[in-house]
Amino acid sequence: MTMANTSISVNARNTIPKIPIIILGIWLLIAIFAPWIAPWPQSEMVGTPFGPLATGDTLLGTDYFGRDLLSRVLYGSRTTLSLALSANVIASVIGITVGFLAAYCRGWIDEIISRIMDGLFSFPTMMFALICVSAFGSSNIILILTVGFIESIRVFRVARAVAMDNLARDYVDLARLRGESTAWILFREVLPNAYPPLLTDFGVRFSGTVMLLSAISFLGLGVQPPLADWGMMTRENLAGLRTGSLAPLIPALAIFSVTFATNQLVDWFLKRTQHDISSELIG
């Protein structure tokens, strides 16, 4: 018996953890139906600035502009979640394409791409984001592209490793002998076989994407007012902290609920499948 075997997994139940699923499901429904659920429009002044909790028609109080905080948190889920999802999809598209190409070409092409990616990988993500935003300005599109590109570096590593593994299999040789094109082999043969670890990686990255996007918006360099975004809402209500208003804390807690639920789910999934590449990457 080795000591490693005595480690008890924290979340080793075989059944899917219900609470994270419920939390994420609720947020998804809220994001879709926000305009119908929210008691107030997201940018309408309904009271005095930093109104306290549960007064009148405002369950969570009001923000620095006297807008209903609950409505803005509900609307904010749309922005935050859709931006994170888009950035993550872009990351996957770039990362998988480049990763597969590197794995397929091998040799000096692979060497050059991998060295560049190594250099980018070690660089602090926030610095990277700041440089991109200062160069291209802040808009939702730039935000998605920037974060998508930063995260694609992580996808690249997984995609390349998985493709390397699959390209060495017999079915690829068979496809080559059949005379299939490179694109066919990579995207019709390798991709379907590689998708379980890539999908896991998509989930692993999701909470990181949410955190990075919110942090950029929190700095005032991401989503711009009057749109509601959880990171930006924390920032714009920061002044209320001095008077004890919970307005900055509530959107931050909303972010936490999403990232924590995602991490729990991913943790459970990784422990169940014990997939080598992904668990190695999240340490």
Partner: protein, 317 residues
Amino acid sequence: MTILKLILRRLVFGIGTLIFVTLLVFVGTELLPGDVAEIALGQDATPETLEAMRNELGLNQPAYIRYFSWLGHAVQGDLGESFASGRKVSTLLATRLPATFVLGGLTALIALPLAVGLGLYSAARAGALPDRIITNLSLVTASGPEFMFATLLILLFSVTLGWLPGTSYVSSQASFVDQLRVMVLPVTTLVIAVFAPTARMTRSSVLNLMGSPFVEMALLKGVPRWRILLRHALPNAIGPISNVIGISLGYLVSGVVVVEVVFSYPGMAKLMVDSVAVRDLPLVQGCALIFASAYVGLNLLTDLIAIAGNPRLRSGG
């Protein structure tokens, strides 16, 4: 590969990263609508003044010549002048750098030994109550954005209890104790942010080692657990742990940016965020260069420690 060659390789790699950063910032400037002269002159721009300024700044020269001239000046410590204030970038950086250095340094001094220590402890007693607490706690702190912990801390210790200041404005004449009090909440926030990933990575890299044959051998010989950990596993873990610290420094840099903004801390990251907001590019370039150099330098250091901790590399064989 000899040790010298290995160090040289890392050095080249680090310099490559720095050159890449400068290129990225430079390309960014090039892509901006209008050129630097138009941005700097703003409302005062007439065809004549624009032409004069372009000549003065050498903007009529090809991009690669301008890049190398900028790089040449940067190497000599001349980072140009800020668009917003017209002051020298190097002067502005010099006034802000010490504050960030103190913030990052204090955090690293507290968080890294704590995280590595507790990571080791929780690897040694894997599955025991402290390990489970540490693992679960790090799952929680890893999911929270830095600004959430910052707002929570301010709300609790500054607003509700009134023990500590929630912002970092402090006059230079303030007493040492007051200056220290200002640091408590920013440093605590950063420690929370850096602690979790570091402890978690330390734990998993040491646990990996604990499963290896030489540890099993020691266990079967009847060597006590603490001795296995300290005498057998730890020396071999120096490499992985210094890698972990390298990655943590990345978290630290990202965290510093958010924390300086939350607490209005007068450091370089706040300066950089402010200059990004107004697109004061020489200032952004300067900040990015300093952060990147610090990051590359520290990573080089952790690499050297990793090499020093590996007997196979140390002996040059």
